[in-house]
């Protein structure tokens, strides 16, 4: 390879890294709601195998209006930042709770909800139904926006 070709290679690799980084950053904390169709099916009186979690699943009580179920791993610094954000929100609001579980202990949940990265946060409504999810480092604004999507949610800044 000529010296010029090597320089071009370096530039191309750096470009790929920059694009990957932008894409990765744009995904972090973005709330993805569960499609309406799936939600309606799960909302029927006795959903067949609903994406609905019980306090027994969590090992903790559900929030009256919402629960942030965070799945974290040991080797994950953004998990700590997200934990602080969500714990603060839950402390401020009596009807919102936050449960942080280690993926190593809860591979059943990891498989059930097809979790690929940490942190992943599932947003549950008052009945424990999964209404959406976020993954990657999540900030306060993003968590509040996710709460806004809940029906009869009157969450102000």
């Amino acid at each position: 390879m000529s010296p010029l070709a090597r320089v071009v290679l370096v530039v191309v690799v750096l470009g790929v890294a920059a694009l990957l980084g932008q894409w990765w950053r744009s995904r972090n904390g973005r709330f993805t709601p569960v499609p309406e169709r799936v939600r309606e099916a799960a909302g029927r009186p006795e959903p067949p195998h609903a994406d609905r979690l019980t306090p027994a699943d969590l090992g903790a009580p559900l929030g009256a209006r919402a629960t942030f179920l965070q799945l974290s791993s040991e080797v994950c610094a953004p998990c700590r930042r997200t934990h602080v954000v969500l714990a603060a929100l839950a402390a401020e609001r009596h009807d919102v709770s936050h449960v942080d579980l280690d993926v190593a202990d809860r591979l059943d949940l990891v498989r059930r909800f097809d979790v690929m990265r940490t942190p992943t946060v599932l947003l549950l409504d008052g009945s424990g139904a999964v209404v959406g999810r976020m993954s990657g480092s999540t900030d306060r604004r993003q968590a509040l926006d996710a709460l806004e999507t809940l029906p009869d949610g009157s969450f102000a800044g």
Partner: protein, 157 residues
């Protein structure tokens, strides 16, 4: 509901990012050197750094030493400290990639050297410039694969 009873002492989060930046620069040098002996030796420097990082954490590498002696004294104290385990996991990923490149290069597969350097360059740029945490993205996937292979325990869903 806060986490981990046994958390190791925190480190300055800018340390691992500085280490990654130095790693990126050395990867560029490897790419510019091509496939010869000089490239192989420079790649070996990277491998040695990663090996130290795995054994002693990123602060234990020579780049970490440079950070402590020359960079950190010029910076304001960090806002928050970070768990040293995530960056250590990232060092392990780096060691696997660069080690494979070095081994293949020693066995005569020259093109493996720039390929390994390019992969390390992408990962270290993502870490240094974007704060990507490789452990967060890969650890859970690894865990899922491992438990599948050994026959998963716990609930199947």
């Amino acid at each position: 509901m806060s986490d981990a009873p046994s958390r190791p002492a925190g480190i300055d989060p800018r340390g691992p990012r500085f280490v990654a930046a130095v790693t990126a620069v050395i990867s560029v040098v490897v790419l510019l050197l091509g496939t010869g002996a000089a490239a192989l030796v420079t790649l070996a420097v990277l491998v040695a750094g990663f090996a130290l990082g795995v054994a002693r954490g990123p602060a234990g590498t020579w780049q970490g030493w440079v950070f402590r002696r020359l960079v950190r004294p010029r910076l304001a104290p960090p806002d928050e400290l970070e768990d040293p385990r995530p960056p250590r996991f990232a060092q392990l990923v780096g060691l696997a990639i660069s080690g494979a490149g070095l081994l293949l290069g020693l066995l005569g597969a020259g093109p493996a050297i720039p390929v390994a350097a390019a992969l390390v360059l992408v990962a270290s740029v993502l870490n240094a410039a974007f704060g990507l945490c490789l452990g967060c993205e890969l650890y859970l996937l690894g865990m899922r694969l491992r438990t599948r292979r050994t026959g998963s325990s716990g609930a199947a869903a």
